[in-house]
Amino acid sequence: MLIDKKRVKRNKSLDKFFHGFFMAMAILSASFIVIIVLFVFTKGISPFLPGYEYGQVNLFDFLTGSTYRQDQGVYGVGFIIINTLVCSFLALLISFPISILTALFIAKVAPKKLGNTMQSIVELLASVPSVVYGVFASGVITVGVRMIAESLGISTFGGSSMLAVIILLAIMIFPTLTSMATTAIRAVDKDLEQASLALGATKTQTNFKIVLTAAKSGIFAGAILGLGRAFGEATAVAMVAGNKLFGPTFNPFDITRTLTSTMLVGLKETTGLDYDIRFSVGLVLIAVIFFSNFILNMVKKRIGRNL
């Protein structure tokens, strides 16, 4: 049999080409994260640099300010950072126990069929888009908040409030927390459970004391992921936040303002300080997510070691 040398050569060079092509595409995909941070940084930092065309903004005032008024050109995001942190952590506080209980139910307590159905329901909740949650929140959650407030004799701004934001975020991060917790619980070593059962612990005791303890690293990872989602959630939150001009807000029935709602609301022109400052707010958002992830990951490592 004759070997077509030309063809072999062509195949070889083609093979090399594709190797290079695949690698280039992978590098391109990975470089987007660098591009995102780089460009948002350059654009977000520009209003604070001397010679900014719409009038330089003081970086310190921006980061510590307690008033954000587009109409007066006063931009301070200090209180907005606090609002964002408070809303997200409280949402996590509500969602965390419920999601762990649900995850236990799916993985351990429920009969197999019921557990699978429950998991599908959590997956459906995860697939509901943000705006749809927003419509639900402004149509149902705000009405509920208004009714609670009225029964307490407090007036609200049509139900748009910090409490509404917290409930909404708690619902929205629930699927993330639950699916991560379910995976972690399912991954727990069967031997551990059996040892606990053999020592005379009941099934429920084993689930709550052994399984949850063994799975806590994975559960905590879910909490970090969920918190990141809560920080970055935009359209739905903007629909019920109310956008307070000053703060921070600690009264649950008062309107509030988060980093994301600030970036979205009142977006009209695509030039000028009011537009550029949104990149600065976005930069602050990236920083908040980064630092909270960093700190929580350290906490997670410590928890993992104490096991």
Binding site: K12, L14, D15, F17, F18, H19, F22, M23, M25, A26, L28, S29, A30, S31, F32, I33, F39, T42, K43, I98, L101, T102, L104, F105, I106, V109, A110, M118, I121, V122, L124, S127, V128, P129, S130, V131, V132, Y133, V135, F136, S138, G139, F174, T178, T202, T204, F208, L225, E233, A234, T235, M239, M263, L267, T270, R278, F279, G282, L285, I289
Partner: protein
Amino acid sequence: MRREVKDKILQALTYIASALSVFVLGAIIVYLVINGLSLINTHLLTSNYYPQTANSGVKADYVYSEMGDYSGNGHYSKKWGIAVEDIVTSHNDEEISVTYIDPNSPFAHMESLVAGQEGQDSSLEVGSNIQNIYYTDENGETVFLSKVQMGDAENLVARLDEAEGIVSCNFESLGGGIRGSIVTTLYLIVISLIISLPIGIASAIYLHEYANKSKINRLIRQGIDTLTGVPSIVYGLMGVAVLFPVTQLFGATSTSILLGGLTLAIILLPTIISSTEEALIVVPQSLRDGSLSLGATKSQTIFKVVLPCAVNGILTGVLLGIGRVIGESAALVYTTSTVISDFPTIMSQGTSLSLMIWSIMSGEQPNYELASAISLIILIIVFVINFVVKIIGKRLARSFM
């Protein structure tokens, strides 16, 4: 005994927590169905968002036949099969609005007289406001009935009953439709997938088939993993900052659907990569070895043996991507603008279905009914996608057993 009670309580807690999430999903669906279901019909899907004035004439091949009875709102002209009532619009204008049209009515068999659209179906619809009518009297002469002459609905019906034939009429269509947004959403899906699929699949192939455990490759993987955690609103910022100059090369002067599609392409990358990679993992190594030992090169093996086996995983990625595009809103606020467009083109601004919801909910008078109707449509599509992905996943797990 006490232990048993405690166990039961804890167990009950897990049931309650699960019931709570079922309740939330149920509440969302019930709310959307109650508010939006009545709006979902062909009018919603096929008509424009903005009301439009139309000038339509009765088709030449229309043959008059008996009209049915009608006993609803408004004054009914049995002769012409049309019912009208007086309304006051949100702009405080007094209008005569159509409440019913009989299928045999001449008003249901009209074509457009507007220059450039001649011959297109343009019948009067329920909800349209009649501006003026041309009809023929007993002498066969055409009579013009202006808005002032029509007066109110009762008077209009009385005048119509004297008429011998209907010629044409001017009316303002109802609007409130979502056709433009559906088209925009389709554009976004196509643009983002065309760009994201080749890059994503190639990246997944590199990561799974080529990459060894070197530092660079770990860095690449970490970069792609980090993309998943970036909030979509930050992608929006990146879109205008990085990709807008790219769209300017194609002649864009403002934010555009093309820009939105490009931004979405990057948002989809992690999804496409991970679902492709999951499918590549399932392909048995023996298939690759077999192909290589028969003399095929590595790239030949990938294109002819590995990828055809991974097609289900790629399909999953495509479906998840479509779901993500349909649901995305925050990134598009910055990249396609929030201006609802009835006739979107790739270079123009427009809103996807999700963005349209944001647009009508953040206006001064939020339209809950329309928002719920669109939400319901989105939810149905997303749930169907979810279901199909699950079936594919089951088949994928079985395919090489």
